[in-house]
Amino acid sequence: MPMNMIQALNSAMDVMLDRDPNVLVFGEDVGFFGGVFRATEGLQKKYGLKRCFDTPIGEGGIVAVAIGMGAYGLRPCVEIQFADYIYPAFDQLVSEAARLRYRSAGDFWAPLTVRTPYGGGIFGGQTHSQSPEALFTHVAGLKTVIPSNPYDAKGLLIASIEEDDPVIFLEPKRIYNGPFDGHHNKPVSPWANFPESNVPEGYYTVPLGKAARVREGKDVTVLAYGTMVHVAKAAADDAKIDAEILDLRTLLPLDIDAIVESVKKTGRCVIVHEATRTSGFGAELSALVQENCFYHLEAPIERVTGWDTPYPHAFEWDYFPGPKRTAAAMRKVMEG
């Protein structure tokens, strides 16, 4: 059944609410209204107030309550309206959720999933566009997951909810309705026109910690996730480069084997993400590729990222690392 990403996420929560009475869904505007992006639409009506409900505007409180519920034995799936607003919950995520199992030697744990829309390309300005994934991949004890299409979104979200470790589930809101390749002057085609919108109605999972090779190639390996998977595909087409594109899907734990196998084959690597460059997740990827594939590299590793500035409003397309910059990086590594 064709679903866009919102419908796929909604279906994942529907499936899990139905399968497991310990699953609860809550967050700001999540209940009656169904979420500002409609991701929880209909769930309260179907499962009742106690399974899917609205919360006060207090991100630290939302996550804290979810941790307490997890310690009791529930499996909360909570929403932070925008990733840009997850920071008030940072202490609860980093100091508590991530460390609970470790510090109690397995006595308590926090099986929560924190869904949050992230990423730019929507004229969201400074506080509706950020990509804070590196803040979470730096935290031992958290898992960080980012889907790039409806099929993966549902399968990864079900796997995340079932996971006994805390999961930060970042949803690229730019591609909720259809894949966006960074060509912002072209109309976006809805997900229904793409095979990844073919989402089973029932239960299935996409395993955490496994990357997907979304395009096979022999010239250069492109490491991407979220919206940038689609940008990378367009850039490879534009540059007419036989690029192999890996959609990482889970940033931590990372599918290092898939990355190493691909880079050893191509000998070149381009890393793309929307987040700012300095200390971004690309730095970790670059270091890992260098450590694991040094003798196979035929060119320096390139990073195409957001600039080291807050996300601007008016300069959206100068900031967003689109296909032009990505293609230029691919050409550059091919010359190297």
């Binding site: 006060p56 307490g68 009791y72 030697a105």
Partner: protein
């Protein structure tokens, strides 16, 4: 020209600093027995006055008076006394162990024993506790093995937390004692979630959380009261006002402007202010709040008004910021002495029996101490296996951590 004076910044300061003679005679202390005891089903708006008084049961003669007298049987009182004494003797021994270099750190609860012990006895054993680092009396009152507490403090090979946690950051799900975190206030709002979960499941267990006067300034305090109020969570939100947050007096947390119990009023939660050194008052108020929670009437804020009679921790010297004799000048006395006096006044306890109990518990703690030291103390190399350092970060050890473990060669 403006005709108002120049603005001036106000910085609260405690009344007494080192060298001053502390005098608390102007402290507004209600007489024992005078505060009314409303029905547990009372609407919170009808008891705002209880947030500004002090619920007290034991009078100066050691008699239990007034409507809050929980009328406890002698066995329960003796159990309470024993657990408080054991907590105090354990604290002393561990404090000394730190000074002897057997561990890196310790925190006593001297003067606050009634809070943890009376509350533990007033709650059911399977009610969940979200403590801070100064409620060790909860574990002791719930008969958690003392040797396990010492093993944790020594980070030795029998440490249940495998050497991962700073001393005293205990955890025991079996004893309804949530894992202690160094991050202040975080557990206060988590407790609300636990209580919500219990209510969601139709369970009959409730939950209690503790926070200090200083940490009420954290955002988590506000989250706990907001979420607790909104969802009527069956939780006791305890503020242990021991007057001091390390070197900051409670006025720095806002305590000079209004009582901590009164914070509850704005959230529509009942707030009770209780003499924290009065075992019977703490027990009675806890029971009242627990009954409310169990009847689905929602949370209660309890301010346990007490005094931190010792330094903040083994790393702290309180004579640097308050008069050395301030603990002795504190008008609410000592919780152990006051309960002892009550038992003697009732004719069920004597000085000889008391001395015998102190001796017995001292010997017991000494014996347990020897047992724990056999398992190792910090720095004597009897540690948990280093391999375990990489476990429990996640449920399963992921590939990158397996690799790092191999790098370390273990």
């Amino acid at each position: 020209m403006k005709n108002t004076p120049a603005l001036s910044l106000y910085i609260p300061e405690p009344k007494y600093r080192p060298g001053d003679t502390p005098d608390f005679s102007d402290l507004n202390v209600s007489a024992a027995g005078v505060v009314r005891r409303p029905d547990v089903a009372v609407n919170s708006s009808e008891i705002h006055d209880l947030a500004f008084t002090l619920i007290r049961v034991l009078d100066d003669k050691g008699d239990a008076v007034g409507p809050w007298d929980p009328k406890l049987d002698v066995d329960t009182l003796k159990r309470g006394l024993r657990a408080m004494l054991l907590t105090r003797i354990f604290d002393d021994r561990m404090f000394r162990a730190q000074r002897q270099g057997k561990t890196s750190f310790y925190m006593k609860s001297l003067g606050e024993e009634a809070v943890a012990v009376a509350q533990a006895l007033a709650l059911d054993r399977d009610d969940m506790c979200f403590p801070t680092y100064r409620q060790q009396g909860l574990l002791i009152a719930r008969d958690y093995p003392l040797v396990m507490m010492m093993n944790q403090i020594y980070s030795n090979e029998q440490d249940p937390l495998k050497g991962r946690q700073l001393p005293i950051m205990y955890s025991s799900k079996e004893h309804g004692f949530f894992s202690i975190s160094g991050n202040l206030g975080t557990q206060f709002s988590q407790a609300v979630g636990w209580a919500m979960a219990s209510a969601y499941k139709g369970d009959d267990r409730i939950c209690a959380a503790w926070i200090g006067d200083g940490s009420t300034a954290e955002g988590d305090f506000h989250h706990a009261l907001t979420f607790g109020s909104v969802y009527r969570a069956p939780v006791l939100l305890n503020v242990v006002n021991n007057q001091w947050a390390i070197s900051s007096y409670q006025g720095i947390a806002g305590g000079d402007r209004s009582t901590f119990a009164s914070r509850a009023i704005g959230y529509g939660i009942p707030g009770l202010r209780v003499d924290g050194n009065d075992f019977l008052a703490v027990y009675a108020a806890t029971q009242w709040a627990a009954d409310r929670a169990r009847m689905n009437l929602g949370p209660t804020v309890l301010e346990l008004f007490t005094y931190r009679a010792e330094g903040h921790s083994t790393s702290d010297d309180p004579t640097q910021y308050r008069p050395a004799d301030e603990p002795g000048a504190w008008p609410l006395g000592d919780p152990v002495n006051r309960l002892t006096k009550h038992l003697i006044a009732r004719g069920v306890w004597s000085d000889d029996e008391h001395k015998a109990l102190v001796d017995e518990l001292t010997e017991y703690v000494k014996a347990v101490g020897k047992e724990a030291e056999k398992n190792g103390t910090l720095g004597n190399s009897k540690l948990p296996s280093v391999k375990t350092m990489f476990e429990d970060v996640y449920k399963e050890v992921p590939p990158h951590l397996r690799k790092q473990r191999q790098e370390l060669g273990v």
